[in-house]
């Protein structure tokens, strides 16, 4: 049965269906409904919700709960994620799975609370110290806010690594229909966890490796699992891309605008298509190269100063012209605005 649901609320519904029973967070617009939903729902299904004294504390509570083997999450927006970066680095270093939602707002600094995509570098490229990766998924609808949160829990456990649900203020604040099944995921056994039991007494969770060779070996081990994720986990969606002359690339709310722009262009007989990365790390490079193979031009649209753009350019490696259109500060381009960026030029070229 479909139900109307806000993006931020869907995150928690998805998390509970993924077997998550612990949430530690701190309020911040436009992510607060995630914490509020967790506060409302988790205690009713036997879970823990705690409003921490800061995002710094919250992410370390997540660290503790994850070390104890439970599925656990936090959610915040840019400024809060900045505070969590140390903890995320520790989680990655200690190979602790967790899910973190970043509802991106305008930045830098206090910026504003309107949608932006300026945290791409911070989440996809790292942000904390040291050699590590976050697994990053990017929902574009309320349904995906639930589904990709569930996927994030699966991937986090599969790779024993933090997974980030990276979305913008619009996808988080939007209400759409979602369809949820009353079927809870079963988390895998975690024989490595420290639970204060005889069976787990010998276990150790740590990210410190004092000897250079030990730390190098640990990092090589992490690299190997990241390489596996790069082989197995890239996800993307195509729309009208097969014969597209102009391939639009965008994620999150932008991909929705691009979809409408493709529809508008197609009505005019212009061959436009859409490539939407669903995982931002690992980035779906191969699929993008394939999708852009016959395109005359790729247009990347982002609510940032060109962050994902770098990954698109790296993937395409000069094979095709890559153009960029950006809105920042909380502005989201309209369908017409994006359409005008490529339609007039494509027509002029034709």
């Amino acid at each position: 049965m479909r139900q109307l649901c806000k993006g931020n609320v869907a995150v928690i519904k998805g998390a509970i269906l993924a077997g998550c029973r612990a949430y530690y967070g701190y309020p911040i617009t436009p992510a607060s409904e995630i914490a509020e939903s967790a506060a409302l729902m988790l205690p009713q299904v036997g879970g823990t919700f705690l409003q921490a004294e800061s995002e710094v504390a919250a992410i370390n509570m997540v660290y503790g709960a994850s070390a104890a083997g439970v599925r656990v999450m936090s959610g915040s927006s840019g400024p809060g994620l900045s505070l969590m970066q140390e903890g995320i680095s520790y989680l990655a270093g200690a190979e602790l799975p967790c899910v973190i939602v970043d509802v991106m707002r305008g930045g830098p600094g206090l910026g504003n609370i309107a949608p932006e995509q300026g945290d791409y570098f911070a989440m996809v490229k790292g942000g904390g110290h040291g050699n590590y990766r976050n697994i990053v998924v990017a929902p574009a609808s309320v349904q995906e806010m639930a589904e990709l949160t569930m996927l994030a829990f699966e991937l986090a456990d599969k790779y024993r690594n933090p997974a980030v649900v990276l979305c913008d203020g619009f996808v988080a604040q939007m209400v759409e229909a979602v369809e949820l099944e009353d079927r809870e995921a079963v988390a895998p056994d975690k024989p490595w966890a420290v639970k204060g039991t005889a069976a787990t007494r010998k276990n150790l969770i740590t990210s410190i490796y004092l000897e250079s060779d030990e730390l190098e070996a640990h990092q090589r081990h992490m690299e190997a699992k990241y390489a596996r994720a790069q082989r197995e986990e890239p996800r993307h969606e195509l729309y009208q891309a097969r014969d597209a002359d102009v391939l639009l690339v965008g994620y999150g709310i932008v991909s929705r605008v691009l979809r409408s722009a493709v529809e508008k262009a197609r009505q005019e007989g212009l061959r436009a298509g859409l490539f939407r990365p669903i995982t931002l790390w690992p980035f779906p490079e191969k699929a993008l190269v394939a999708a852009a193979a016959r395109a005359k031009k790729v247009l990347v649209v982002e609510l940032s100063n060109g962050q994902m753009l770098e990954d698109v350019r790296l993937a395409l490696d000069g094979r095709v012209t890559v153009e960029f259109y950006s809105r920042v500060g909380g502005n989201v381009p309209t369908t017409e605005e994006v359409h005008a960026r490529f339609a007039t030029r494509a027509q002029a070229a034709a």
């Binding site: 049965m1 479909r2 036997g46 370390n60 140390e86 604040q173 759409e176 204060g196 039991t197």
Partner: protein, 502 residues
């Protein structure tokens, strides 16, 4: 002597028969410190360091209370970062200052277990001040062992928050000056201002009598955890001979002579752990909490598959905060859902909600919805003049504007769209609640466009509004809106044929 200790003694080559071992190493310690890279029989602590004594006291308490299989030791950043080399219990190493937060996560994930947060003075009283204060304030069921030696040991002798006035360190080369660095912080006294902690004591490793007091304090803090838990905090004034530049005996004396006067030894809190007031919810099923309704076979009563005249209908609702513009949009989305459509509702959000304007975009469609942002709505519901002026120019040429006033502002240049003025607030006011103006406008919209079923609207309102008086007002308001459009509609001179018939 435990079997493990015997093995250890054998491993280091001591002849077991030559002497009687009175003080064997606790089996809570690993017999050999395999996690160390070299010198696996000895600790990394300096001779005379208090950590060695504290480790021993903690291990013996765990042993005596039979907690080895129930304990998680959280090691900090500082000299005790490698506590997991030694303790044969579950071990979690955490970030600098965050042990109380990580311990919170562990303790709540593993109720009934014994969680020890082992921290030094820089870790606990400087970088981790917020974490310790709030863990204490929540009454987390953890045992905090706070080793205060008035200096940063691991990083090589910088000032600690507990460094004494006048005490030199590598970052207070002229001694700690209150004018520059403030005074040493007294954590026991600070935490004792809070309600939730059950046990707070300060002890000192300055002589054997006091070491035995420390032993009892640590044991007590762990007993509290064994018996169901509560926040227990033991501060231990502890020598750091290496950094202080003293020998072991002089360092012990320094604790007694210099530290104790500043950090008085005392029991600051000692009360029976009792459950804190709670009033949590009753457990409910997943489906109930997540509002997942069972898909009963043949149950189609909820969804009315209407034959809509539009492919996509976009509506912008705008007004001032408190007028119910956002709610009206949500009701439209809910109605669309009931009628089997794809729907999206996108609000203006944040501070705007609290004052000034509020608007939302509603999209109803037979197809998957692309952009939920509407640049040219088919319908604008303008609940005040500002909204009318701001958004009317955006309305699609064949669109509709519903304006919440008797007539248009005089200087308003009407756009191409069809315009309907309806004094919804006044109508609602007469019905008993100005707040029902949004229902009047909804009624007008339904009557004017025929886009969605009035019966769907009624059903949604009945489900959403629980108070019976409010429900009646809303019903009346919806009907009044329909009637108004039906009978009294004022339209612009040059109206466009409306595109919603059907």
């Amino acid at each position: 002597m435990s079997e493990e200790s015997r093995v250890a003694v054998a491993e280091i080559g001591a002849a077991q028969d030559d002497f009687e071992l009175l003080h064997a190493k606790s089996p809570v310690f690993y017999p050999v410190y395999e996690r160390k890279s070299d010198l696996k029989q000895q600790t990394h602590y300096c001779p005379g360091c208090g950590h060695g004594i504290v480790h021993k006291l903690v291990a013996e308490a765990i042993e005596e209370l039979s907690l080895q299989d129930r304990t998680v030791l959280v090691s900090p950043v500082g000299c005790a970062v490698f506590a997991y080399y030694y303790f044969d219990v579950g071990n979690v190493q955490v970030a600098h200052g965050r042990a109380p937060a990580a311990s919170t996560g562990i303790a709540r994930a593993c109720p009934g277990r014994v969680v020890i947060s082992y921290q030094g003075d820089g870790d606990l009283a400087a970088i981790g001040t917020a974490e310790i204060v709030h863990a204490a304030n929540r009454g987390e069921k953890i045992c905090v062992i706070f080793v205060n030696n008035a200096i940063y040991g691991m990083t090589g002798g910088q000032m600690a928050p507990t460094t004494l006035v006048g005490q030199t360190s590598t970052t207070t080369p002229w001694g700690r000056r209150p004018a520059n660095e403030g005074y040493p912080i007294r954590m026991c006294e600070l935490l004792a201002t809070l309600e939730a902690p059950v046990y707070i004591e300060r002890v000192a490793l300055c002589d054997n009598r006091n070491i035995m007091k420390a032993r009892r304090a640590i044991r007590k803090a762990l007993e509290i955890q064994r018996d169901g838990g509560g926040f227990a905090f033991v501060e231990i004034l502890s020598p750091c001979p290496t950094i202080w530049g003293l020998d072991a005996v002089a360092a012990r004396n320094w604790v007694a002579e210099k530290m104790v006067p500043v950090f008085p030894l005392n029991v600051f809190r000692d009360r029976k752990p009792e459950p804190l007031p709670d009033g949590g919810p009753e457990p409910r099923s997943l489906a109930e909490v997540l509002e997942i309704e069972a898909r009963a076979a043949g149950d189609s009563s909820k969804i009315r598959r209407a034959s809509h005249s539009f492919e996509t209908l976009t509506v912008k609702v705008a007004g001032s905060g408190g007028q119910g513009a956002l709610l009206l949009g949500q009701l439209l989305a809910e109605m669309g859902l009931r009628e089997g459509l794809e729907v999206s509702w996108l609000p203006s959000y944040g501070p705007e909600m609290r004052s000034g304007s509020a608007h939302c975009h509603v999209c109803l469609s037979k197809e998957r919805i692309g952009s939920p942002l509407i640049s040219h709505p088919d319908v604008l519901i303008a609940m005040n003049e500002i909204s009318l002026r701001k958004f009317a120019p955006q309305v699609a040429p064949h669109g509709l504007i519903l304006y919440n006033r008797e007539k248009l502002p005089e200087d308003f240049a009407a756009p191409e769209a069809r315009l309907v003025c309806i004094p919804a607030s006044e109508i609602a006011d007469k019905l008993g609640s100005t707040k029902a103006a949004n229902m009047v406008l909804l009624g007008a919209l339904l009557e004017e466009t025929g886009s969605l079923g009035a019966d769907t609207a009624l059903r949604v309102i009945e489900e959403k509004v629980k108070k019976i008086e409010l429900l009646n007002t809303n019903r009346e308001a919806l009907e009044a809106g329909r009637q108004f459009v039906d009978k009294e509609v004022w339209t612009g001179a040059e109206t466009q044929p409306d595109g919603f018939a059907g």
